[in-house]
Point group: none
Chain length 205, copies 4
Amino acid sequence: MPPTRERIVAAARQLIAQRGYRGTSVGDIEAAAGLSPRSGALYKHFPSKRAVLEAVMAQHADVVDEMRAQIAVLPLGDLRAELTLIARWGIAELRREHELTRIVMKEGDHFPELAATFREAIVDRGHRLAAEWVESFAARHGARVHDPAAAGALLTDSLVGFTLQELLFGPAPGGVDEDRFVAAWVEGALALVERLVEQRSPAHA
Amino acid sequence: MPPTRERIVAAARQLIAQRGYRGTSVGDIEAAAGLSPRSGALYKHFPSKRAVLEAVMAQHADVVDEMRAQIAVLPLGDLRAELTLIARWGIAELRREHELTRIVMKEGDHFPELAATFREAIVDRGHRLAAEWVESFAARHGARVHDPAAAGALLTDSLVGFTLQELLFGPAPGGVDEDRFVAAWVEGALALVERLVEQRSPAHA
Amino acid sequence: MPPTRERIVAAARQLIAQRGYRGTSVGDIEAAAGLSPRSGALYKHFPSKRAVLEAVMAQHADVVDEMRAQIAVLPLGDLRAELTLIARWGIAELRREHELTRIVMKEGDHFPELAATFREAIVDRGHRLAAEWVESFAARHGARVHDPAAAGALLTDSLVGFTLQELLFGPAPGGVDEDRFVAAWVEGALALVERLVEQRSPAHA
Amino acid sequence: MPPTRERIVAAARQLIAQRGYRGTSVGDIEAAAGLSPRSGALYKHFPSKRAVLEAVMAQHADVVDEMRAQIAVLPLGDLRAELTLIARWGIAELRREHELTRIVMKEGDHFPELAATFREAIVDRGHRLAAEWVESFAARHGARVHDPAAAGALLTDSLVGFTLQELLFGPAPGGVDEDRFVAAWVEGALALVERLVEQRSPAHA
DNA sequence: CATGAATGAGTGTTCATTCAT
DNA sequence: AATGAATGAACACTCATTCAT
């Protein structure tokens, strides 16, 4: 059994993601961590309820570091295959952060540093990665793109939008599932980058 | 001054969007509605706190109906102009629902009917509108599209993703603003639908 | 329809007997009196909730006066028949006062004058009547009784005990019903007064 | 100092007997139990206010068991002495249950199980004991009684009536005190059982 | 390190009462 | 005379936090 402190953090992350910060009582966390509920045992490990939430967010930095490592390994072969991989990987990553995302959605207003951390670690990084990919693609075709950041944001935000809706509402009954969405996204991405390269390369020449 | 009941609903919408349902006390709502706080005056107009939240969500149906009306008036001329208008209008609509969206993000878990209503009224409708637009565009070019629903979801979700991030984190400092995002979106949409039409149209063969 | 004031008193008596004073809200009384609940309409007729209770008790004096009149009419024939009549009439009277009795049981602590009034009007009167009957019976047999008040109390309190239990617990399932209780009471009363007369008359002679 | 739980039960019994269930606030009970009022400390020991009332009634089962033990020890010598003892003991027992009785009178409507428990534990038991006594008395004289249950109810209910009036109104000023009432009761009981035996015994024929 | 008891502030809700209409 | 809205004080109950053991 992991040490009590870690059990508390894990329990808190799960509960807060489900019920929100105010909706989760210290007693709930204690119970879920295997302590006797309402005993105050949590306070041997954290000075306050809020400190537990901060620990939950802090724990998150590690996760983000893992992500960075994985990204380097992306294969470069068939363009369509590459884009499909990117899309799937992005969705998977966002899903892995469901709980943290939920917490940010629920408590971001009250814990702005928390929201800021999350944005830098996940969102901004995603935008930057996508922008870099667009630029590198253009470079591979000897072209330059007018606004690669915007293109990156577009590619990223559509994945984010899809995932957040799934998170908020569950899978749509009769809606577009991941496979179809990814297929559409790949087609759109392909169309976009090819058009960007076409548009700009003649002008540049 | 609008009648008390309406003031209560307005106050509740704002407060709950900011602080969440549990974070907003009946006394807070009363105070914000110009009643004396902790007086229980709210209960002359609603049987419970929860009923206030339901009224907040109900109020929303009207908004959606307005949307439908506006959409019919969309001009059909220059394609790029049309898409720009669609994007701007979609973002504006989603922004208009910021508060409701916030409430759904914070309380969707606890009030599933609320989330379901929101999904049907806003998200699903958006998807359907976009899918219809794609199909009508293809029809205008005598073509058919493989998976118009997926294309519609893609177009919609990217706007949703953009707006939700803005909502969650505020405007990104040094990030992509609405103008640039819309420009990228229009380009992407254009590229996508043209490619879809080419791929599928018999003319292509 | 009787005037509002009377409807309020009637409604209050019933409700307070059922639910107690604190368990009955002004709104309940208003509703039961045909006024719109929680409107405060009661206060056009009474200065306070407590004043309503006082009016309920005051109304009671009339009832007691009726009792006095009936008692004179008691027939004097067969002794067993006479006692049976007394028992049945006593039980009936106590039952007629069920609601007031309930109120006294529930609220007597808080409204001592109310309890005192009730005692004088019902209990003490019963005791006195019974004592007088015992004495007159002894006189009819040319005897005197040692403690007619105690004998009267005994005869009265057994009826009271029977009725109060019925009131508190409802009719006992498989218990002794009114007919059997009255039969036993008559037998007991007969045995008692005959013994009292025997005991004392020889000593007196 | 007895443990907190017991102090709460004791305080609750007293307060509820005086003021009724609704008239007694959790804060009142806490204060009377030596806890800080309105602190919610009671909820460490009971899940709800109602549970406290139930504990008060449950406590009562022990008392009844004691009664049964005492009754077995009743001496069998002089009949008049035996009856006097029975009467005094019965009155004493009923007085010991004054608080519980008050609670049943005030709250029996709202807590029917409570009233039912009380009835079975106290009233029905009393009736049965008295009926058995009458039968055993008749048996001692080789006779049988027509309706021993009714006779038992008569003997019991007169004691109950006496005690309830005392409870409701306090000792009557200038009324019949316990000594005189008991004397009358013994005389009545004696007269009754002797008459029942005469009536029914074959010796009478 | 863990527990049970305690505390005081707070929550949603009810209610007697007042007042303008 | 009756109503609907408003008020402030109460109530049952919850919770974050502290402390002695």
